[in-house]
């Protein structure tokens, strides 16, 4: 007799757990029932991301690099599952390699971006990058590579993320969440919501505790989202859906300059 397979329920990923939407709603995407996150789910995700940011920003760069590398390890072991819901095997492979690439940046970005500044006076003056805080991401297509391309630079710099997954292809985002959940990513550092973009994105853009927005995956609503983001002077980023660059990391970093006198 043929064995009946166990079907997966695609839920949200918030605070390291996989809750259903508090609204109890789902939608059908790619032939599966997918949680349809509400604005309250989004609110919870932002709150948790903010809390998680305290520890993640303080983690050593070495530690963050290892966590990212661990994500790649988990993706590698689930390569087949990811491929079954991604656009292609090639997309998965490139996504894995991209995470590894960013993992290596964790303890180098400050050396490339930071400076010791030769001011005209008896002061030691240096500039270091710091995470900006909670970053809201509208994940672009392709659903895995796009998401990873935008998410990895955000978290490697010490930020935490609230991601709105591809509306048309959300399954791979949750598949990725399962990799994250087993990769020593501290709970809340990455939160992934599935659902209807236009229901969620304005709440993300206008949330006063979101520090930056990645609108690479935005479409016609990007201008309005940016306008909403101005209310707390959000940093708004539009990058490449398929690209990797240290400049994508610095887009989500603040620069802090410290002065101290030099005297006996």
């Amino acid at each position: 007799m043929k064995r009946l397979p166990v079907q997966k329920t695609y839920k949200l990923f918030i605070g390291g757990a996989f809750p259903r939407s508090e609204s109890g709603r789902t939608l059908v995407a790619e032939g599966a029932n997918v949680a349809r996150a509400s604005r309250k789910d989004l609110r919870d995700a932002v709150r948790i991301a903010r809390q998680a940011g305290v520890g993640w920003a303080k983690a050593t760069a070495y530690n963050r690099g290892q966590v990212l590398y661990r994500i790649a390890e988990m993706m590698e072991t689930r390569r087949a599952e990811l491929a079954s819901v991604a656009s292609s095997k090639a997309e998965v492979d490139r996504a894995i390699d991209r995470v590894v690439w960013y993992a290596g940046w964790a303890d180098k970005i400050a050396q490339v971006v930071g400076t010791a500044n030769p001011v005209a006076g008896p002061y030691f003056n240096f500039t270091v990058p710091e995470p900006t805080g909670v970053v809201g991401i509208l994940a672009p297509e392709p659903p895995l590579l796009g998401l990873v391309s935008r998410l990895a630079p955000v978290i490697v710099g010490g930020n935490t993320a609230v991601v709105i997954a591809s509306e048309a292809h959300p399954l791979v985002a949750i598949e990725l969440a399962e990799c994250l959940a087993t990769a020593d990513v501290p709970p809340g550092v990455v939160n992934i919501l599935t659902g209807l973009r236009k229901e969620l994105a304005p709440w993300l853009a206008s949330h006063m505790d979101v520090s930056a927005l990645d609108l690479t995956g935005g479409d016609g609503d990007a201008a309005e989202l940016e306008r909403l983001g101005a209310e707390n002077v959000k940093r708004v980023v539009r990058g490449k859906a398929d690209g990797q660059s240290p400049y994508d990391i610095t887009a989500f970093l603040e620069l802090k300059t410290v002065w101290h006198p030099i005297g006996m």
């Binding site: 500039t127 002077v233 620069l255 300059t257």
Partner: protein, 482 residues
Amino acid sequence: MATAWDYAPAPEARDIVRIQERYGLFIGGKFVEPLSGERYTTIDPAREEPLSEVAQANKADVNRAVKAARGAFEGSWSKLRPSERAKYLFRIARILQERSREFAVLESLNGGKPIRESRDVDVPLAAAHFFYYAGWADKLEYAFPNRRPRPIGVAGQIIPWNFPLLMLAWKIAPALAAGNTVVLKPAETTPLTALLFCDVLRQAELPPGVVNIVTGDGRTGAEIVAHPGVDKIAFTGSTEVGKAIQRTLAGTGKRLTLELGGKAANIVFDDAPLDQAVEGIINGIYFNQGHVCCAGSRLFVQESIYEATIAKLKRRMRTLRVGDPLDKNTDVGAINSKQQLEKIASLVQSGVEEGAEIYQPPCKLPERGYWFVPTVFTNVAQSYRIAQEEIFGPVLSVLTFRTPDEAIEKANNTPYGLSAGVWTEKGSRILAMAQRLRAGVVWANTYNRFDPASPFGGYKESGFGREGGRHGLEAYVALDDA
């Protein structure tokens, strides 16, 4: 024993600067009559006397300036060899140094700041800024590894009235170094040094249209922001206006940098070098009459040294010399405008009404002009308006704390994040505090220091982007793949 040692007046000579009766707009390398046909009077806030009539640029004027900038960008400037661009900027730096006293006097006349500051801080720093960025013009590829930087195009720049010439330098120097052309609007109340700067450009033989100066109020600024021919906006000013600009630009793809307000915490621990900390507190809030976005307007004193610190602070305040900005011995000059004076007075009134204890040293103020006595509030609660809102005047709010964690929590408890100060002798504590304060600039055992090599800019609602240093170039380049 003597009963007084009043320093005799030591005024800097005014005749070094010649102010025209009226100014046009500086567009395409020459002064032109405003198409608007409108002018307004700019004054000396210390004497409430008119200094000159300046143009109120309208949409047509801004359009003309943007066209001139576009023409210069496409015609010559962006094609010029970077090493030649550098030499123009070096020239400007040198001419500013040569004419520094003239600029200092004019800055103090039009803005009300003490000549000591315009002479020793504003003007030398402005020249240094041009000198610094001059050297970058032909070295940009070293600033952006693995990228090919190219200019963005026409930069629209809107600057405030607190450091008129210095903010002009912060804006124009990196823009030009990176190969952009500029339309700059000085603040409504302080246009004169920007207009005098046009003569520096003439002496430097900068090609026409590379820098265009349009004067006017906020309406002129709005026209620059909205102009489709402007590729990048750089704004320094209030958070409120900054947000409006960000909203206007939403979806246009125009580049934007914002340097906005602040409500900085200046934190004094019980092991601090106290006399120097008091100097830092004074310099933090009374420098430039407190018209400083990064002013240390919230003083946090550790409770165990509260009384000693306040006693020293009040004593020091009594030695502040308030008065004629052109007197070389003046420490605190005139408030920049009547409107600002009214804003300060109303916030101070709110502090009194909310229950804070006010102290103002005895102080003889001139009869004419806009003045505000250096003020400190003690017994301030975090919830008072004077502890929350940017006053932009010589008004300090004092709060206390018991532990470092409490200091950090209170210091960060604001939508702003521009700057912060820490005073302690303990090295590891300085670094821990510097790390945890959410601010773009942290001054440890010092305050209100600026340098062209030192990036400056805010976290949170204090804006984004940096000015100064290698990082200051980023706002003015597009990065192509190498």
